[in-house]
């Protein structure tokens, strides 16, 4: 992802020249961003399987501490970054948005894993919210199910690049009368009320998946229930393989 370099940066030639002589030349912006990006404290918040990969990233082998984010703060007040790691269900969505609102500015959000981005493999569920970006702004989307710990570190480095390019003058959180309170949805009779926050999220124009399979996907119209009462004819032999299907030599691990 390319970010607009902040205009206030010094030209590189002069900087490297002075660096040879041991003089560090920098701008207030770079210093400010360097400080913030090197100590992003994520919130100790995990929902499902991606949270285990997040913990594995924080443990000895992948060591998130090398990026300054080893301290997982349980309370949202002291966290800079919320990693939405796992499936956000409709029952959990109000809590997640309230947590995001309680975080202190400047705050960032990584939606880790396919479930947090757009519902992932559970996109059809009646209790699954199709992506957390319906209610809160997401900075980095990290696909994968679950993404490897290295992919989480790569996502964190992407976030650091984004922080590097921010400038103090026109950042969101220093504006007068800032009110970044996002709507906390309520639990209605059939799902969340409202279903999404129109200010932040618009539905896709062409949703191929829904056009082809409908929602939720019901393969095969089930109109007749199985009648378990009458006895099975023979012992239920395994269904015979239809002819004509290419049978790979068993044991050859194709892939």
């Amino acid at each position: 992802m390319a970010y607009a370099k902040n205009q206030a940066s010094v030209d590189e030639g002069l900087k490297s020249e002075l660096a040879k002589k041991g003089i560090v030349l920098t701008t207030i912006n770079e210093l400010y961003n360097w400080g913030r990006r090197s100590s992003i404290w994520p919130m100790q918040f995990g929902l499902a399987c991606c949270a285990i990969e997040m913990i594995a990233a924080a443990c000895a082998r992948y060591d998130l501490a090398r990026f300054g984010s080893e301290l997982f703060r349980p309370s949202p007040r002291q966290a800079d970054l919320i990693i939405i790691a796992g499936t956000v269900t409709k029952k959990m969505a109000p809590q997640v948005v309230r947590l995001y609102n309680q975080m202190a500015e400047p705050k960032y959000c990584i939606s880790m894993g396919a479930c947090a981005i757009a519902g992932g493999p559970f996109i059809d569920g009646y209790n699954v919210l199709r992506g957390i970006d319906r209610f809160i702004p997401v900075d980095i989307n990290l696909p994968g199910c679950p993404p490897r710990p290295e992919a989480l570190i790569y996502g964190l480095m992407e976030l650091q690049k984004k922080i590097d390019c921010q400038e103090i003058e026109n950042t969101v959180w220093y504006k007068k009368g800032l009110k970044r309170e996002y709507l906390v949805p309520e639990l209605g009779p059939h799902g969340l009320v409202p279903k999404f926050n129109p200010e932040i999220w618009q539905p896709r124009e062409a949703d191929h998946r829904k056009e082809r399979y409908g929602e939720p996907i019901t393969l095969g119209k089930k109109t007749r229930a199985p009648n378990l009462d009458e006895e099975p004819a023979a012992t239920a032999a395994p269904p015979k393989a239809p002819a004509g299907d290419a049978v790979p030599a068993p044991g050859s691990n194709k892939a």
Partner: protein, 394 residues
Amino acid sequence: MEKTLQSGDFKEKSFVLRGERDVDTQTLEINVGPQHPSTHGAFRMNILLDGETVVRLKPVMGYLHRNHEQIAENMSYAATMPYTDRLDYFSSMSNNFGYAMCVEKLASIEVPERAEYIRVIMAELTRLVNHVSLIGFLLNDLGAFFTPVVYAFREREKILDIFEEVSGSRMMCNYLRFGGVKTDIGANTLEGIKKIVRAFPAFLEEFETLLTKNEILCMRCQNIGILRPELAVNASITGPMLRASGVNYDLRKVDKYSVYDRFSFKIPLGSRGDVYDRYFVRILEMHESVKILEQALKDIPQGDIINRKMAPFVKAPRNFKPAVGEAYARVEAPKGELGYYIVSDGTAQPWRYHVRAPSLINLTILEDMCLGQKLADAIVILGSVDIVLGEVDH
């Protein structure tokens, strides 16, 4: 229909709990969760406290209810296999094991020898991963913040490398197929597993010197959250929690499913049924799993890895239409008895698919164990129950 209790029904009551006290205290209703460091995920406990003592504890689930059963009923049998990895995301291979056994029972498919041995090896490796990580998180609740987890995850990473080498993914293996396994284990992978299994007792010994005789652990865990054997059996508790209360019931010995009857291993039983027994039963179970692994790795036979009749259905899962019928199969998952109940109606999608989640049912008696304990101990008791929310809420 009598009025169902809403959560807000409990009014403020003044309580005098034990003996005469000059001060009349009021109870305090607090919610631990769904976002709380000690609830192992999105799980809420509605606790009524008198001072520090728990007076009533109502668990509230459903924050990770991902509609596994609805999705499975709309999909072909083989397509549900990757979803079973996401049930108990610490032990994906034993979830696959249970599901594969249930469909094999439904369509009466035999599994060749080598595939059975590979399944047992993978299931026991997941038991190691699960117990090590669980003890790490239990110690997290006791205040040893993340040190045991870092030790445990170092071992877990080595075993996850094996899973990735064998099945392709660290946590979501999707490795078993009906009638066998997806791919064979190479000779060097087998060597890698042997190396890990040889090194595991040394790690366990180091883990035990770090924890077992630690006075803080002993004081905080002994005689806390005692579970009587009769209540455990009556409340359908299964797995290490049941065996910690002294009831000898382990599906590997009871059902003798797969090839478990060929291995000699013992079943560790606790005596008092408190948190310390649950911790120690899991350590001993890891020793037993290492014993099973050594025997399985020693005499794993050569041969097919999948039933030849089922090979075409790996390539074309939509043609797999078992006859009308029902089947209930259960497997000794690290958390307890993981059961699958499938009713098939002759089409490629099951008519009814139900998962018997051990950690959901083990939570039935959380309140009985926590009544009268301090709040800090209620957190530890929840940690010792070993719940994973993907399976509790399936």
